[in-house]
Amino acid sequence: MVVVEATDVVKEYESGETVRALKGVNFEIEAGEFVAIVGPSGSGKSTLLNLVGLLDTPTSGTVRVAGEDIEDHSDRERTSVRKSVVGFVFQSYYLIPTLTALENVVVPCLLDRNPAEAEQRAVDLLERVGLGDRLDHYPDELSGGQKQRVAIARSLINEPDVLLTDEPTGNLDRETGERVLDEFDRVTDEGVAVVTVTHDEYVASFADRVLHLVDGELGTDAPSVEAVGGGVFE
């Protein structure tokens, strides 16, 4: 099943002159796939991630996530779709310093009708990432790897279809980073697609498939060890 589908995606920014960050990108990502998008700085990786994460809209072309075309959606509708189908993991974790690990995981569901149910799920998720004994710790009491695992638990609280990660191991040492990557592996086993943006060839080597983005265009395929499914690259 295809969870992300990008067709002729163009993104332009106005900053004095028009900057074309993405110049017509096409790809599909299947459920349960681990896809790495690699490329040099300024190649449009983050732009692409923002589009797939429904944080931004393309200038032209379409992005469908879990079957939803968000082209004509208002900010409010985009936010609702984002909440139900997308999870985010950032390089700098972005945990809320005034909330405990458990509360940080619950945050996306804090305003829901039944946060108690989400809280139970949060406990399960934290136990799963090995932080069952750190529920009431605040972010400044956790190591970098632990923080990133809290962030992963948070990204899964809404049971998303696709998990988007931006340099998820950028601030971590190799060993801790591997633990995080293993976590992503487990996530994909449950049918969640993981899309990661990275500089790091090592991270890319964990991926089922690597998309090379150069100057806003997807380059030739450079399949990793166990490519799964047939992506469409142009």
Partner: protein
């Protein structure tokens, strides 16, 4: 899970955010406290000041003093009295006689007023007089003090002896027929054919003014039969002066609350800038703009509520101090004072919310991508 978090998650997050920068939140609350105290205390002070001054000067605006006009003789006659009573329709018209008699004990001249029903005109402090008053004398408070006279003693005036039956309360300086240094005797004791004055008591300065105009128009049509002295104009000017003083004091209070609002806006803007990434994350994980707006406004409101509660508590203490200095004891709260307290409380919270609106709107309208760009 805490109850606050379950029932009011936005307020829960707001509280956490405020506690993160305790000193900054504390200072913002302090500015609100100062604003609330300024409005409430200055308002209460204005009220107490006016009440105290009114007590001192006397509630003079409600009375008319009618004297013979320039075309009349030295005295008002029965016809004048009947005409005034007719126009006053049911209001009390008190005839007043005046004489200057010699006090034999010291030889000095004192003002003696002949009043049929002194209870209608004066407050009695000590002693009592019967309803139909025929004999004896009542003395004013200063007269009593000066000559050390108490009810039951006798005084000799112009060769006659009067038993003092009562001493009057001290009256305000502008009271009509001021009795403080005078002696009051039954009207039959003064041998004149007519009345020196008529006093009319009304309910309000406005009524007094209207009646004065009516009496002038009716009685002085062809010749100046009466001269009507009405204090209502003074009373109005007096009230207006106090209103202006109160407005000025409130203005000072208002300025301090304005400063408080600016300080809150500043605190919130700083906090919104500091938490830009965090707000971006909230938006990314599915918080709507209105949710972020709600959290930020809850922060402003919490600051306002705490400031207003503490401010009103301090104002109550300050007002008790003012009351005990200017009125009858610390708990002598006037309704206008209570109104100022409520006003200050509402303004404290209102100013905080208004001040929080712009920063909250600014924070919530940032696109998550921009907020996360760092």
């Amino acid at each position: 899970m805490s109850l606050l978090r379950r029932l009011f998650p936005r307020t829960y997050m707001a509280r956490r955010n405020l506690l993160r920068a305790k000193a900054r939140s504390g200072l913002a609350v302090l500015t609100i406290i100062i604003g609330v105290v300024a409005i409430a205390s200055l308002g209460s002070f204005g009220v107490a000041f006016q009440e105290a001054q009114t007590d001192a000067i006397g509630g003079f605006g409600n009375e008319l003093l009618i004297s013979p006009g320039e075309d009349n003789g030295q005295l008002l006659d029965e016809r004048d009295r009947r005409d005034v009573e007719r126009l006053a329709s049911g209001k009390e018209v008190i005839p007043l006689l005046v004489a200057q008699w010699q006090l034999e004990s010291t030889g000095e001249t004192v003002t003696v007023r002949g009043v049929g029903n002194p209870k209608a005109l004066y407050q009695i402090r000590e002693g009592s007089i019967p309803d139909s008053w025929r004999s004896g004398a009542i003395v004013g408070s200063e007269f009593a003090e000066k000559h050390e006279i108490e009810p039951g003693q006798s005084i000799r005036l112009d060769g006659r002896t009067y038993r003092v039956q009562a001493v009057l309360e001290e009256e305000g300086q502008t009271s009509v027929a001021n009795p403080n240094e005078a002696v009051v005797v039954p009207p039959g004791e003064i041998d004149v054919d007519g009345y020196n004055n008529l006093v009319v008591k009304t309910e309000s300065p406005r009524e007094a003014s209207a009646l004065a105009d009516e009496i002038r128009a009716n009685l002085n049509e062809r010749k100046e039969r009466v001269d009507v002295l009405d204090f209502s104009k003074f009373a109005e000017q007096f009230d207006q002066a106090f209103r202006q003083i109160r407005m000025f004091l409130l203005g000072v209070g208002g300025i301090s609350l304005l400063v408080a609002g600016i300080s809150i806006a500043n605190v919130m803007l700083m906090s919104a800038i500091e938490r830009r990434e965090e707000i971006g994350v909230l938006r990314a994980v599915g918080y709507q703009r209105i949710d972020v707006l709600g959290i930020m406004l809850a922060e402003a409101m919490l600051l306002g509520i705490i400031g207003a509660i503490v401010g009103v508590a301090l104002s109550l203490l300050a007002t008790m101090g003012i009351n005990s200095l200017m009125l009858d004891g610390p708990f002598d709260f006037r309704s206008a004072t209570v109104m100022y307290m409520v006003l200050a409380f509402a303004f404290g919270i209102g100013a905080s919310i208004v001040a929080g609106l712009y920063p909250a709107w600014k924070a919530s309208s940032k696109r998550p991508v921009e907020a996360l760009r760092g």
